[in-house]
């Protein structure tokens, strides 16, 4: 069985400063990992995904995440925050040999300070 922990329920950063959203996972197998973003009252949009290829994954809107097996982490970063980045972010894990079901973290709400 797999699980994912998002360490911060809420993160605030100033516009133009770096963003770090933390995620740790637990999985019996080599996992597939995703980050999704949800803007207010909207559905979820896929930001990026790790599927056992390159450990540094680049996504949309300037976000990237690094898979670190030794730390069981998949933290999401962006060099410079923009006001439009304010949203809820979900780290997701799945077992690539399982039944294609996703396990979601509880989410991190990102606030951007002007």
């Amino acid at each position: 069985a797999q699980s994912v922990t998002q360490l911060d329920s809420h993160v605030s950063v100033s516009e133009g400063t770096p963003v770090l959203l933390r995620c740790n996972y637990s999985s019996s197998y080599s996992p597939s990992l995703f980050w999704y973003v949800q803007h207010p009252n909207k559905g979820l949009q896929l930001l990026l995904k790790y599927t056992s290829a390159a450990t540094l994954v680049k996504g949309i809107n300037g976000f990237e995440a690094e898979f670190k097996k030794s730390e069981t982490s998949f933290h999401l970063t962006k060099p410079s925050a923009h006001m439009s980045d304010a949203a809820e972010y979900f780290c997701v894990v799945t077992d690539p040999f399982g039944n294609e079901k996703l396990t979601f973290g509880t989410g991190t709400r990102l606030t951007i300070i002007p």
Binding site: L44, K49, L102
Partner: protein, 114 residues
């Protein structure tokens, strides 16, 4: 690329009334389909998933049911709503040809049971 439609966008229903939420998918055939619920302040909980017409798997025991009468139609229902059924309901699909765990989400239906 696929497009996922959900309706209604918002719904206010009294306790004990029936429910029918609809999800339709365009741009792909024979997708895997999923219903999630997002309660306030929580992550997403998988309710049902379907790998084909008439094939429904339930993840958690609850007051809800799902049906898939057509390849690209997925319906979430209840005979009698409970207060605890309030939440944001998201439909997702895993299109044919896409990496198997990648899911794309619809805009969601916000349900308030009073």
């Amino acid at each position: 690329s696929q497009t996922i439609h959900q309706w209604p966008a918002t719904l206010v229903q009294p306790v004990g009334s029936p429910l029918s939420l609809e999800c339709t998918v365009e741009g792909t055939s024979n997708p895997n389909l999923y219903w999630y619920r997002q309660a306030a302040g929580r992550g997403l909980q998988l309710l049902f998933y379907s790998v084909g017409i008439g094939q429904i798997s339930s993840e958690v025991p609850q007051n809800l049911s799902a049906s898939r009468p057509q390849d690209r139609q997925f319906i979430l229902s209840s005979k009698k709503l409970l207060l605890s059924d309030s939440g944001f309901y998201l439909c997702a699909c895993n299109p044919v040809g896409e990496y198997q765990e990648t899911q794309y989400f619809g805009p969601g239906t916000r349900l308030l049971v009073l």
